[in-house]
Amino acid sequence: MSTTPGEAPARRRPDDHETGVGVPRLLWVPAGLAFALIALPVLGLALKADWPRLPEQLVSAAALDALRLSLLTASISTVLCIVFGGPLAVVLARGRLRGLRLLRSVVLLPLVLPPVVGGLALLYLLGRTGLVGRGLDVAFGVTIPFTTAAVVLAQTFVALPFLVVSLEGALRTAGRRYEAVAATLGASPALAFRRVTVPLVLPGLASGAVLAFARCLGEFGATVAFAGSLQGTTQTLPLLVYQLRETDVEAAVALSLLLVVVAVAVIAVAAPRTTADGRL
């Protein structure tokens, strides 16, 4: 490192001169197959599409309704994930409670649970005869299942772990050393959290939010079980695709391609943040 004032150290860059350590040749074959398994089906979808008629298939009433609903619910769900999952991640990363380990495994449940099971679980909790649902119905006359609110709840349920895990990792990586430094400079815990901790984990929060948004957009199983498939109210894009797959294959393909485009856009937004070194 240089000490001449005004001179920055050379930043590390990929260098053509570096040969590095090679990858064993044997790994190239399964690696190629894995890549093909991911990339080829998307290609198949693109080949199947009726490109000239694509625009009119995308602007059908049902398709526009589904697209609007998907973007709306996924956005709301992502905000809910940040508002509730953010503090949960802080508790998991910084808390000193007993039983935190158990709590963490419970939070991971939606990741490993089949989504349709999650949907049923939500239904039995919030359905008109469910544990909480009955109370809501009697006290406020509110029913949640098969409404847009149910779509949001189902999406939040499945997407929450993505945000929590990503943010908790960022909090642990940032560590407490910066917070201790902030304290010795006179910052209260609340100020240190706001001015130091939050900015430090912002990239982790952003990539977690993008992952959660993508998961919400693709949600199918929990939504179908808990919210049904009513056009304009609960029929999101994946549900419409599934409904059209037999009656109107070309429309289904067109909408699938739309979802692919959105997914690629999401990856493009998230990738630079996650591939660097976790920092902006």
Binding site: M1, T3, T184, G186, S188, L280
Partner: protein, 371 residues
Amino acid sequence: MTGLDARVVVRRPAFTLDVTLAADPGEVLAVLGPNGSGKSTLLGVLAGLLRPDEGHVRVGDELVTDAAARVLVPPHRRGVGLLAQQALLFPHLSAVGNVAFGPRAHGVPRREAEQRARELLAAVGVAELADRRPARMSGGQQQRVALARALAPDPHLLLLDEPLAALDVDATPAMRSLLRQMLRGERFDRPKQTAVLVTHSALDALVLADRVVVLTGGRVVEQGPAREVLARPRSPFTARIAGLDLVPGTACPEGLRTADGVVVTGRSGDGAALPTPGEPVVAVFPPSAVAVFAERPHGSPRNVVPVRLAAIEPRGDMVRLRAAALPGGPHWVDGLAADVTPAAVADLAVEPGAELWFAVKAAEVAIHAAD
């Protein structure tokens, strides 16, 4: 008014830290000690990050920790700053943002805080980096910004935790002298800074500190003005970091008698008469005064002792030969050092494990009372 007045007792399963420290306002106190001697624990208690089992900490006129009265002022309200080995600059803030952070946390308006931050950055010699993020600074530059940041809120007490240890060799001397000037208020219009400096380096202690406390096994084993403690070490650790050889024993008419009865001839360290025979004393001499022979030398008024060569270490233009005890030989030679020229090492043609003779003239051996 005191700068710092602390008695700290922390009981851990492995050891107990029990020290009393005091510093006048504007005084820099160096804490020296081997790893595991309790230095980090001590800093943690002073900063308010650790609760002591017993004792108190008074910074300026304020009692910030008192185990008996259950007083524990949180770190952000005790006016104790910290400069650690790593700069730990906030990566999302520019240099100005980092330095202004402390004043801003104390409610200083942004414009004023940033104005002061720029002045401090200029004082530590990195004015041109003001708007740069830490990722685009060298290690030495980062540590300068970290010093400015630590001083910006005008802490009553500044803790320096090996502030030069992580810098590369080229950056260290300039940072050391900057630190000295800033602590003494010679470079920026601020009063002398009360500080506690934890270090492994005798040079840092000599340059930066007014007084030195040597900590071993959780206790203060030596203390006094930096120059005095390091010039007349009374413990093997202090001697080692001061770069001196030390032999413990009791006083005898010739100088010192070791526990196994070997007499080390020397002169009184402070120019006065030698201590009363039987009193505990140490014999201290520089490694450069030690001559090394493959065969026992004859006929000179030297102290001569057989050793096993434990290690050969480069040391600037010289080579340091580190001794270990021979089987059945005296134990106190363990760790003794001799600085010789590379040519002399080549003449000796030795490798670690070889048997050698260390010799030192009586005139080079200083005998100090070891209380």
